[in-house]
């Protein structure tokens, strides 16, 4: 009988790799925890999973009203409702992912103090459960696009790539938040505020070409959500401005730094987080 596969060494304070191989072994657990999050979130609610789309719908209506009042064409010549709803849906995925995954270590303290599994499973599961909500909201988006008679072009094939960028960005950011939340709890008070602010400096309720002045765009584009949201719009709506190469490059740089740095930081913190939560 060979146990080679399961031999492991227990040593203090040594960072031995990121444990991605082991994470693959526990992928089933990540899926189950994601499913648990969604299931528990909507248990004993009357509307159930409809809550997943109510937030983007409500925000879309609020901004529709706001931009009507100030008479600004925030989406240029594109139909405002589907364009902003699309932005809202992805923004919700992003902000919810950051908020949930950011507290996932401390929220599951009862688990991580009692049994070993790669701690990366927890933020990953939170982001995955956001994808389930996203899928539901996407159904409504498709309905809206039919209603407005918007026929996507071949650009649609690029949509999964921009979605992937958004998922990786969410994961990257949430690794930092989750690890820092394990160290000190200040962040959980700051995150909701930061996310509110971040929504206004991302093209969620407006499009970049309609609102952001040309001479500020070089700076604005360092926000990786810009390429992600504009890219998605471009793939869904004919006539939307295409993301520029500079925009996409900046987003890729920021996302990779966040993700790779986040993986290392998380791996560093997860070794001692049990003694703190």
């Amino acid at each position: 009988m060979s146990h080679g596969r399961y031999t492991y060494e227990i040593e203090p304070g040594v960072l031995r790799g990121l444990g991605l191989h082991e994470l693959w072994h526990y992928r089933h657990l990540a899926g189950l925890l994601a499913w648990r999050n969604v299931r528990v979130r909507y248990k004993q609610t009357l509307l159930g999973m409809a809550w997943g789309i109510l937030a983007p719908v409500a925000y879309t209506l609020i901004f529709l009203l706001l931009f009507r009042l100030v008479a600004v064409k925030a989406a240029g010549n594109l139909p405002y409702v589907p364009v902003v709803f699309a932005g809202m849906v992805f923004w919700q995925f992003f902000s919810r992912g950051l908020a949930d995954a950011g507290t996932s270590l401390t929220a599951n303290a009862n688990l991580i103090t009692k049994v070993y599994f790669p701690r990366l499973v927890l933020p990953l599961a939170s982001v995955l459960s956001g994808l389930i909500d996203l899928a539901i909201a996407l159904v409504l988006l498709i309905v809206l696009m039919f209603w407005y008679r918007i026929a996507p072009t071949a650009n649609l094939f690029a949509a999964p790539l921009f979605m992937l960028l958004g998922v990786l960005l969410t994961l990257g950011g949430s690794l930092w938040f989750a690890a820092m939340d394990g160290l000190f709890r200040d962040l959980r008070h700051a995150v909701p505020l930061l996310l509110q602010l971040a929504m206004f400096v991302s093209p969620v309720a407006y499009t970049t070409s309609a609102i952001v002045p040309e001479h500020w765009r070089w700076l604005y584009e360092w926000n990786p959500m810009v390429a992600c949201l504009e890219g998605l719009r471009w793939s869904l709506f004919p006539g939307a401005a295409a993301p520029t190469l500079a925009m996409v490059t900046k987003a890729l740089v920021v996302t990779s730094v966040l993700l790779v740095g986040g993986l290392f930081f998380f791996a560093r913190v997860e070794r001692t987080v049990v003694d703190r939560v």
């Binding site: 492991y8 203090p12 189950l32 688990l111 049994v115 000190f184 049990v274």
Partner: protein, 406 residues
Amino acid sequence: MNDVVIDVEGLSKRYQLGESSGFGLWRRLTERNSPREEQQFWAARDLTFQIHRGEAVGIVGSNGAGKSTLLKMLSRVTSPSAGRARIVGRVGTILEVGTGFHPELTGRENIFLSGAILGMRKAEVEARFDEIVAFAGVDRFVDTPVKRYSSGMYVRLAFAVAAHLEPDIMIIDEVLAVGDIGFQKKCLSKMDEGVHGEGRTVLFVSHNLQAIRSLCQRALLLEDGRLVADGAVSEVIGQYLSRQRTSLDMRGRSMVNRLNRTGGRARFTSMSVRDTGQADQWTFRPGQDITLDFSYEAVESLDNLGFLLTIAAAGTGEVITSVKEVLSEQTVPRGASGEFSVSFPENRFRPGEFALSVCLGNGDFSAFEDILDSNVSLPHLSIESDEEDFHLRLGFFSPKYRFVRE
């Protein structure tokens, strides 16, 4: 063939006492003048041992001896501060009953979730699903949320999942303390099957010495984080019991800890427990007399002297009752000593573990002079009974009552 599956060398775990802030820098700035060394506490110190395939090893020791810390390090829940360990084989850990259970989910959903958290693959859970449900005896409620389960059902299902893990190495912390006696026996025989039938390696912590005797051939004894005995189970348990004397000499014992919390003008010199007639001296059966004897001395002259005893549930720390008496209304001269005792004739405690805290202080206890409690390694009082009815094991006391059926 090298048959060592757990090889531990100098394994140690240090905890920082007090509130820890995340910033090392911040701590260094704010605590520049305080001696850091004194705020450290070694929960496990320089543990070295080897365990071979197919061995069942019990770990005994009083509370705070480092048993749970050792299990947590070996199961990779927490990482050691020094030393190393090498483990060969798949490890299954049960540090608590019901890890990963969610009250809102049904029994079926929880079996899959808890199974996955404990390290079972989906196919393994599926293969054993019916067996788990039958073992727990919850077949009719398998699609009911577990928050509607009775606590007995909940514990049975939770343990059933864990008992059907089939790892090479099983690490189990005090989990048999819950559940009714009948189910406990069922669990023990299931574990026994794993050790003797399937050659599984088991590391087992329990206060139930009988369970350790019947399951394990070998035992480790921990004291204050150190390994003080390692050998045949009967020998090690004998050592453990003889160290746990009924009469505790309190002179000089953990004085730093005691003086830190109290005035220290009077102190306990000894404490003993009487009328047991059982091997485990801090263990009683309901209905037995329990007598606690104390002696004390006055280090300085005191205006008056009082005694306070609180009894708390060991699990939650919630105080369930107390005794408060005056030892002297008049001035107690320096160097004076005295003795007193507290008895609970035909004790009415329900089975469980109780944490005692005994204090000397002034008459109204606005000032404490000495405290003996689990922080200075005072053992728990444990009450054991053969009562099989789960409902009659609930709570802390059996009150006197009258039942009238017309």
